[in-house]
């Protein structure tokens, strides 16, 4: 028999919690140093390749665009500094409407979507009509093009001349957005609920939780966490679609740019509005990525693969 560490029985336990290279006598070997040098060199090479390939792509794109036969004319109609400066403050003013719409519709959509999803997953014969209604709702509003939905609500509801019902295109447009997006989000939630393994529900029920409690405390928390990325995806999409309320005459960022563009016969304001939306969406997309990556890290076992 080989006694591998003759006198280290106690010692091994003593410095168990030590910092690497701290209290214990560990000195990195030549092998480790070589290996790390190689890895550093490889990282440098990868960075260099990425830089070169980015540069080449940028140059090619630039040359292709600038050497296009219509470039001079395009530059005037789409990238005019004067109109850009004129449009920017107006577009920002309009954007505030988009942001308010996003916040209010976003909350309503999440609540309504969740309720519809729960209605669709309810068991028991009593709930049959509710299940059918919820299914019909999602089928209808997911199929109906948003633009048509908007026109029906924004122009149709005022035409009814109902007492006490608003004719404000912003409220009506928001209502139409909520109707359509609730249907999408309900399906996202439902997919999440159904992706939770039945054993989770069984474990909850076996602890004496009612069906409702099992849903509330065990299934929904897991389902929602799992569906965060697609939900944020839908919210980003909603953010852009708030621009469609302008068809009813509300002055949002798109409409504000449209007014100037129509008058000046120059498309630059659209470019400004587009860029503003992109600028608004990027932080949200990054946030989505960050949330997803963090969840993956929390779940994954350690390791490099």
């Amino acid at each position: 028999m080989t006694v591998v560490k003759d006198d280290s029985g106690q010692e091994a336990a003593d410095d168990k919690g030590d910092m690497p290279g701290g209290g214990d006598t560990y000195v990195p070997s030549q092998r480790r140093l070589d290996r790390e040098r190689h890895k550093r060199a490889r990282a440098r090479r990868a960075t260099a390749i990425a830089a070169v390939s980015t540069l080449v792509t940028a140059v090619v794109l630039y040359v292709v665009v600038v050497s296009a036969p219509g470039w001079e004319r395009t530059k005037e109609t789409f990238f005019d500094g004067h109109y850009a400066r004129e449009a920017f403050p107006k577009v920002l003013e309009g954007l505030w409407l988009n942001i308010r719409l996003l916040l209010i519709c976003g909350v309503l959509v999440l609540v309504l979507g969740m309720l519809i999803a729960i209605a669709r997953t309810l068991r028991g014969p009593v709930f049959f009509p509710l299940r059918v209604l919820a299914a019909a709702y999602t089928d209808f509003f997911r199929g109906l093009p948003l633009i048509i939905n908007l026109m029906i609500v924004v122009f149709g509801v005022p035409a009814l001349r109902l007492q006490g019902v608003t004719v404000d295109p912003v409220w009506l447009g928001g209502a139409a957005l909520t109707l359509t997006y609730s249907a999408y989000v309900a399906e996202v939630f439902r997919a999440g609920i159904e992706s939770i393994h039945p054993s989770q529900r069984a474990a909850a029920r076996s602890l004496g939780l009612t069906n409702r409690q099992a849903l509330r405390h065990v299934v929904l928390p897991q389902a929602v966490r799992r569906q965060v990325p697609p939900l944020l995806n839908d919210l980003v999409s909603l953010q852009k679609d708030t621009g469609l309320v302008s068809i009813g005459g509300a002055i949002d960022a798109v409409r504000a740019s449209d007014i100037i563009a129509q008058r000046a016969l120059n498309y630059t304001p659209y470019i400004v509005a587009g860029l503003v939306f992109v600028a608004l969406t990027i932080p949200m997309t990054r946030f989505t990525d960050w949330v997803t990556a963090r969840m993956d890290r929390q779940r994954a076992q350690g390791g490099t693969t």
Partner: protein
């Protein structure tokens, strides 16, 4: 199968692995000769699983080196996928793919990685399933099988690529005693066929029976190493003695 009957299949030299500030493996040396079974024993958290994960390059080691058939696999220049193709791993939690049938689970790697034809891969898979008493389960989905059956399927999946070395990470820890037997019987058969294996295990009786070499890990260090008779019959280190005494008291040896 091996070209050289004396040189070790797996060799580790002063392997060190840390997670943040905790040193999980410290100066670990190990030699696994061909056609032998090495059992890693020790308390939970002693580094057994990490050692296996390092051998399969699922973890990057901090220092030291690991060789497979004389080739240094911890060299950053080697392709880890090529190394993993030669090593089979069976996990404690089976890790079968729930969306594939048993047959698809087994033939995935032979077909996609090793380029075997469907007919060839399936024939080999069925033959292995037959041998492990699972001939009628080829079309079943993993969730329909018992734990013992799932673990035997996982072993077949690892075997299907004809690995040079098999790593077993506490493969019976999630099984009830009745099912432990059927899985261990499979491992015993593999030993008789000359498969080289390293297993982290809490089944001391089994380790004593099948292992050619037993390593006792404690706090990330291979504290004691020897034949099964030496470790279980006449342990030298006080910590080994204490560990084995607790096992005996718990009625597990």
């Amino acid at each position: 199968m091996s070209t050289d009957n004396t040189s070790p299949v797996l060799r580790m030299e002063s392997v060190r692995k840390t997670f943040g500030t905790s040193v999980v493996l410290r100066d670990v040396d190990l030699e696994v000769p061909p056609h032998t079974v090495t059992a890693l024993i020790g308390a939970s958290g002693s580094g057994k699983s990490t050692l296996l994960r390092c051998a399969n390059l699922l973890e990057d080691i901090d220092d030291g080196a690991i060789w497979l058939d004389g080739e240094e696999i911890t060299d950053p220049r080697v392709d880890p996928d090529a190394i993993r193709r030669r090593i089979g791993v069976v996990f404690q939690a089976y890790n079968l793919f729930p969306h594939m049938t048993v047959l698809e689970n087994i033939t995935l790697a032979p077909r996609r990685v090793h380029g075997a034809s469907r007919a060839e891969a399936e024939a080999h898979a069925r033959e292995l399933l037959e041998r492990l008493g699972l001939g009628d389960k080829a079309g079943a989905y993993p969730d329909r099988l018992s734990g013992g059956q799932q673990q035997r399927v996982a072993i077949v999946r690892a075997l299907a690529v004809r690995p040079r070395l098999l790593l077993f990470d506490e493969i019976t820890a999630a099984l009830d005693p009745e099912l432990v037997g059927e899985v261990l019987a499979v491992v015993r058969d593999l030993k008789d066929e000359g498969m080289t294996m390293v297993l982290a295990t809490h089944e001391m009786g089994f380790a004593r029976d099948v292992a050619d070499q037993v390593c006792f890990l404690d706090g990330g260090v291979v504290l004691e190493r020897g034949t099964a008779q030496q470790i279980f019959g006449d342990p030298q280190q006080e910590r080994t003695q204490r560990f084995l005494r607790r096992i005996v008291e718990a009625g597990r040896l």
